[in-house]
């Protein structure tokens, strides 16, 4: 039963601010993902909780106890590092058992627990091997074993899958998720891979430039991004952003008023009443592509098509505006073709061009969420 709480945590290195105003609550047993581009401060945030980095100000509490100045070894937190950080001169058995050894756990119990952990991770046959002779995936399991053997209160993982190949990543991903569910340990997990974050987390904490941008479930950050950064960072391919002018539901791209000129649905228009200029955000999945002239559509020329199997990514240009569209592979189009794009207008987002904040409050986005959830499951 462990909750984690950050209260206005800040870490600065001289003039450089690594993280600032970090306020975050992690519930007991929750799988929380710290997500953001490199240099956004997610690892610093994690290290502050581990105790490896001392915050400049703010407090961190574990179950209500202030641990900000408690030595890492007294926090009962285990951590998995990006390059596994296994002890190269020890065998697998010694590596996994090390936390128990330094805690003076008797040899017999230690052996039993090492065997148990090895069973859980399906590596009993590796126990007496040297670390140097293990593959990346095997090393990863040993690192996990070393972290879970102590039954820590909190589990920290710093990009634990970053050094694995794509296929192994996916299988280790589900293993980690199952392990976390079974052990029911409060977990903080750092990654820059949004796909990994979406598939693992109960809660996503999206960070940029040392600040938390948004905290929410994977669905929330995907469908209700609070600002342009979150909208652009989550989702693959990235959301299209177009500077547009708006009057009475009429939307025109500023760089291509003739090609990009559409009328939005009344229900959607309400959200943007009183906004003359905004950044329109449309996910590539929420354009429909037509090869024949269609009413209320954006006219564009195909620049590149990238087949992906059952779908294709189509890069188009509407005047000076470049757009990315995900289309079914059944649509036959090639470079130089003229196509027409219609918007699923209830799924578009509007952002303030100055601040990047979302226009329209989440209440009004409810319809969007429902609609998009179904759209999401279709794609």
């Amino acid at each position: 039963m462990v909750t984690v709480e950050y209260e206005s945590v800040k870490k600065a290195y001289g003039e450089t601010i690594a993280i600032e105003d970090i306020d975050l609550e992690v519930d007991d047993g929750e799988f929380t993902i710290l997500l953001g581009p490199s240099g956004c401060g997610k690892t610093t945030t994690l290290r502050c909780l581990a105790g490896l980095t001392e915050p400049t100000s703010g407090t961190i509490t574990l179950d209500g106890h202030d641990v900000t100045n408690v030595h890492p070894k007294n926090r009962n937190i285990a951590m998995v590092f990006q390059n596994f950080a296994l002890y190269p001169h020890m065998t697998v058995r010694e590596n996994i058992g090390y936390p128990l050894k330094v805690a003076d756990v008797g040899k017999e119990e230690r052996e039993n627990r090492i065997e148990q952990v090895a069973e859980t991770l399906e590596i009993p046959e590796l126990l007496d091997r040297d670390i140097a002779n293990l593959s990346g995936g095997q090393q990863q399991r040993v690192a996990l074993g070393r972290a879970i053997i102590r039954r820590p209160a909190v589990f920290l993982m710093d990009e634990p899958l970053a050094n694995l190949d794509a296929k192994l990543k996916i299988s280790m991903r589900s293993r980690i998720k199952v392990l976390q569910r079974e052990m029911d340990i409060t977990t903080l997990y750092v990654t820059h891979d949004q796909e990994e974050a979406m598939s693992l987390g109960d809660k996503l904490v999206v960070m940029d430039k040392g600040h938390i941008q948004q905290i929410g479930t994977p669905d929330e950050v995907y469908h209700q991004p609070v600002n342009q950064f979150v909208a652009g960072f989550i989702g693959s391919p990235s959301m299209n952003f177009v500077e547009v002018s708006h009057s009475d539901g009429q939307i025109q791209a500023e760089n291509a008023p003739e090609d990009f000129d559409v009328t939005l649905d009344d229900a959607v228009v309400k959200r943007y009443s009183g906004t003359d200029e905004m950044t329109l955000g449309v996910r590539p999945q929420y354009f429909s592509i037509h090869t024949e002239e269609t009413a209320n559509a954006v006219e564009a020329e195909v620049e590149v098509t990238e087949p992906q199997g059952d779908e294709q990514i189509v890069e188009v240009a509407a005047g000076d505006v470049s757009l990315t569209v995900v289309a079914p592979s059944t649509i036959d189009t090639t470079r130089g073709d003229t196509v027409w794009l219609t918007l699923e207008d209830e799924l578009v987002h509007g952002f303030d061009p100055e601040t990047g904040d979302r226009i329209g409050d989440p209440e009004e986005m409810v319809a969007t969420t429902r609609a998009s959830s179904s759209a999401g499951s279709q794609s």
């Binding site: 581990a50 105790g51 490896l52 890492p72 070894k73 937190i77 285990a78 951590m79 590092f81 990006q82 390059n83 950080a85 296994l86 002890y87 190269p88 001169h89 090390y98 936390p99 330094v102 805690a103 070393r146 102590r150």
Partner: protein
């Protein structure tokens, strides 16, 4: 089609080339094949003349007795002689003391200094440079500097005055003190090397491994014993062997500071060897000492590597 014609034209060409090779070309081909070996010949010759030739000559000398009329083969007599040579046996004891104390203190002090340097201390670069100065001076210069400092009423007497009440210690003239003075000079000269090597080793311990140990709950002492020491193991053995071998052969420092005196108190093996050879003109016994020292050094170094079970370069 194109590839077919290509292969038809190429194959006969190759055959022609290999059958038409003249003897000159054959010689060139041979040189080409063996060039890598030919290139090493000068180096091998130099190495042989500078290392193996003197070694073989020393072996030969050690079996001969030098008389005004010429040399006589005496077999192992010189070696037997050594066993009852009081000066030689004394030099063994003196050398053992010198090596034991000097290398021991250099290692412990050097390790401690490396650990301090490894902390995030201010102006580390300056400290590193200062520490290295003794190492880059020549042994002769060091001997002269320290002889001045050890001189009666010299710097060290001045420093020690509060303890000695102003009386001269006789740093290198007092039998009971002289060896320790020579050892102090050696420590001053060679601790930097230990610092340098072990500091480099400490720097190579990956941060995340130390951090993993912190997260695993290891105390500072446990981290040192379980992580740092195993990481440094091969470097520790390396530096101990380097220092041990070097300390066993110490000569210049002793020669400049004390010439082995007073009354043999600092008469290390090399000093005794030098005296036997060049003062008593007994090249046979001196060579026997040299060969014995070589064997001793070899045995020590090899057993060290074995005890530590270290594989270099792995």
């Amino acid at each position: 089609m194109a590839t077919d014609t290509d292969s038809e034209t190429v194959t006969p060409d190759v055959a022609q080339f290999s059958t038409d090779t003249s003897s000159r070309e054959e010689a060139l081909l041979w040189v080409d094949d063996h060039l890598k070996w030919l290139m090493t010949i000068p180096a091998v010759l130099i190495l042989f003349s500078l290392t193996f030739y003197p070694l073989l000559r020393a072996l030969q000398f050690s079996t001969q007795s030098y008389l005004p009329t010429g040399t006589v083969f005496v077999g192992v007599e010189n070696y037997v002689q050594l066993l009852s040579d009081g000066a030689f046996l004394n030099s063994l004891v003196v050398t053992a003391k010198f090596v034991g104390i000097a290398v021991g203190v250099e290692f412990i002090l050097g390790f401690a200094m490396a650990l301090v340097l490894n902390k995030k201390i201010k102006v580390r670069g300056l400290w590193q440079t200062l520490i290295l100065i003794p190492m880059i001076l020549s042994p002769t210069v060091i001997g002269l500097i320290w002889r001045l400092m050890y001189a009666p009423n010299g710097l060290l007497d001045f420093i020690a005055a509060p303890l000695t009440g102003g009386a001269n210690v006789g740093w290198i003239s007092e039998t009971s003190v002289a060896l320790y003075s020579v050892i102090l000079t050696d420590i001053w000269q060679w601790t930097p090397l230990v610092v340098l090597v072990l500091f480099a080793g400490l720097q190579s311990v990956p941060d995340d491994i130390s951090e993993a140990a912190v997260m695993d709950g290891a105390s500072r002492r446990q981290r040192f014993m379980h992580i740092t020491l195993p990481y440094l193991k091969s470097l520790i053995v390396l530096i101990l062997i380097i220092r041990l071998v070097d300390a066993l052969r110490v000569f210049a420092k002793v020669f400049i500071l004390t010439r082995g005196g007073p009354s043999d108190a600092t008469n290390v093996i090399s000093m005794e060897m030098y005296r036997t050879a060049f003062r008593f003109n007994n090249f046979g016994e001196a060579s026997a000492m040299a060969v014995s020292l070589l064997v001793l050094v070899l045995i020590l170094a090899m057993s060290f590597v074995n005890i530590a079970n270290v594989e270099f370069g792995s």
